[in-house]
Amino acid sequence: MNYTLLLVLQGALLLGITSGALGTFALLRQQSLLGDAISHAALPGIVIMFLLTHSKDPWLLLCGGALAGVVGVVSMNYIVAHTTLKKDAILGIILSVFFGFGLVLMTVAQKIPVASQAILNKFLFGNVATLLKEDIYVVACISLLICAILTLFWKECAVYVFDPMFTQSIGFNVKIIEIILTMLLVLAIVIGLQTVGVVLMSTMLIAPAAAARQWVTKLLHMVVLAGIFGGCAASVGVYASSVIDHLPTGPAIVVAASIIVFFSLMCAPKRNAA
């Protein structure tokens, strides 16, 4: 096994574990498509950061993406609070309008002589093969941060996921828990954009959690199992794309994750309610 493959495997493994574990919360709160919306909403932030700094450092650009993702979530919450529109319509609006605006900015960026289009296009489909050693450190730090925060606020998050009303009534600040979970989601998406890109990020969040949900009934078990599934899918995808010529990594990971889900859907013991 060569050095590059090992590096890429490490990155994908970290992403798979973190987004799998975090996706559990999104799935249980019925916010599976939130990840899709946030990853699309990040595009204008990435391009604005590029326009401001002309930097090619992906992490700096992703900081902009994270900010735009947060703006997207805040706008979503504002619309939820002030209208009677259904949640999925709001997701669709944020997703498409932010992404559309990102496209507009991208055509602006392409006129700048220093603009390397490649770096912006990279975020559409992700490119795990270009991960450097320094990138792995950043991915590892973000993953550790996510796990640390999740452990620290485990009790709060667990209660909140199952019964927000109860959580509020026993004196927890529901808003803060909500913000923490959403911020973690944004962080996970930021690593994911580097790896699998905008379109396929939602699978990284949902698939491992959806598969894990079929086998276990305890939250802790589900988070751990989802992490394992996510890690497996990512490693298998990366390995397959290194063995088979021209097999793109992101889609390979998605197919691997989907196989785990469909196996679980068909083979796991029956439950009474979803």
């Binding site: 949640k87 669709g92 609006i93 997703l95 309008v97 992404f99 559309g100 990102g102 496209l103 979803a274």
Partner: protein
């Protein structure tokens, strides 16, 4: 300077916008708006499979394949929801990236040398639409996209006007609809077929992201301003048309992505409605 090229693009954009927002109204009302996102991504797989079967990029079978892929997406999602193992949002979020990924993988393995650009499917390029012309008996009948879009608009208008009563009653009161003999399931699938066909007809010119923007945002904007379905349809047509015209003008002025600009413009209208609705109606 307004040339015939500009006029043609604007007409195609308006047709696409109105075609999308007609089924969009009912998607928004039923709470299945994200289905448009799923369908518009999943059609890539249908196009790729059909292309591999017939080896021609301009075959109408490609569009048939795309529509079928859209319908299969809806069916798969339904099967998962019916199994009660996952909720609707998770089912949608699982199926379409898988279809999209399989499409991308098939292109990378079997059609690498063909001009089947995935960027184009996602982003579209309205500016190129007028160059692909429909020539019948050596007479230039205008851009191909104009005819496709016109046909799609006709189908959608007929669908909404002929089944208006059924659509409304199944949307708001499924029980009453069943009691009075309208099957909500049949209407739901009919709506999904129409949505798939709309996505297929429009994505070629405007890209899948703009399909989502045009289906959901004008309808949602209209939803904020009125309580009646009739007015909601009317208003969303107005918003979609205005977004197409203003978005295209802005894109020309600033020389940026047309699809992106129109999508942004639908957002501007939405924010305007959100902020200004207290004084209206």
């Amino acid at each position: 300077m307004i040339t015939s090229l500009h006029v043609e693009i604007i007409i195609i954009a308006i047709l696409a916008a109105v075609t999308c927002c007609l089924p969009g109204v009912f998607l928004v009302l039923r709470g299945v708006a994200m289905m448009s996102d799923a369908i518009s991504h999943a059609i890539l797989l249908g196009i790729v499979i059909m292309f591999l079967a017939v080896q021609k990029l301009d075959s109408p079978l490609l569009l048939v394949g795309a529509t079928l892929a859209g319908i299969v997406t809806v069916l798969c999602t339904e099967v998962i929801i019916k199994s009660k193992r996952l909720k609707q949002d998770a089912a949608i979020g699982l199926i379409f990236p898988l279809f999209f990924s399989v499409g991308v993988i098939l292109v990378s393995q079997y059609a690498r040398n063909v001009h089947l650009d995935i960027d184009m499917v996602l982003l579209g390029e309205l500016a190129f639409a007028p160059f692909n012309r429909l020539i019948l008996a050596e007479i230039d009948c205008g851009p191909y996209a104009l005819w496709v879009m016109g046909g799609a608009l006709l189908v959608n208008s007929l669908f909404v006007s002929l089944f208006y009563k059924e659509l409304v009653i199944t949307t708001f009161d499924a029980t009453l609809a069943t009691m009075t003999g309208f099957s909500p399931a049949v209407l739901y699938y009919a709506l999904m077929v129409v949505t798939s066909m709309t996505a297929v007809a429009t994505f070629d010119a405007v890209g899948s992201i703009m399909v989502v923007a045009l289906m959901i945002t004008p309808a949602a904007t209209a939803y904020l301003l009125t309580k009646q379905v009739k007015y909601m349809i009317g208003l969303s047509v107005v918003f979609a048309t205005s977004a197409a015209i203003l978005g295209y003008s802005a894109a020309c002025y600033a020389d940026v992505s047309i699809a992106g600009s129109i999508a942004s413009m639908t957002g501007v209208f939405f924010v305007g409605a959100l902020v200004g609705r207290s004084g209206l109606f």
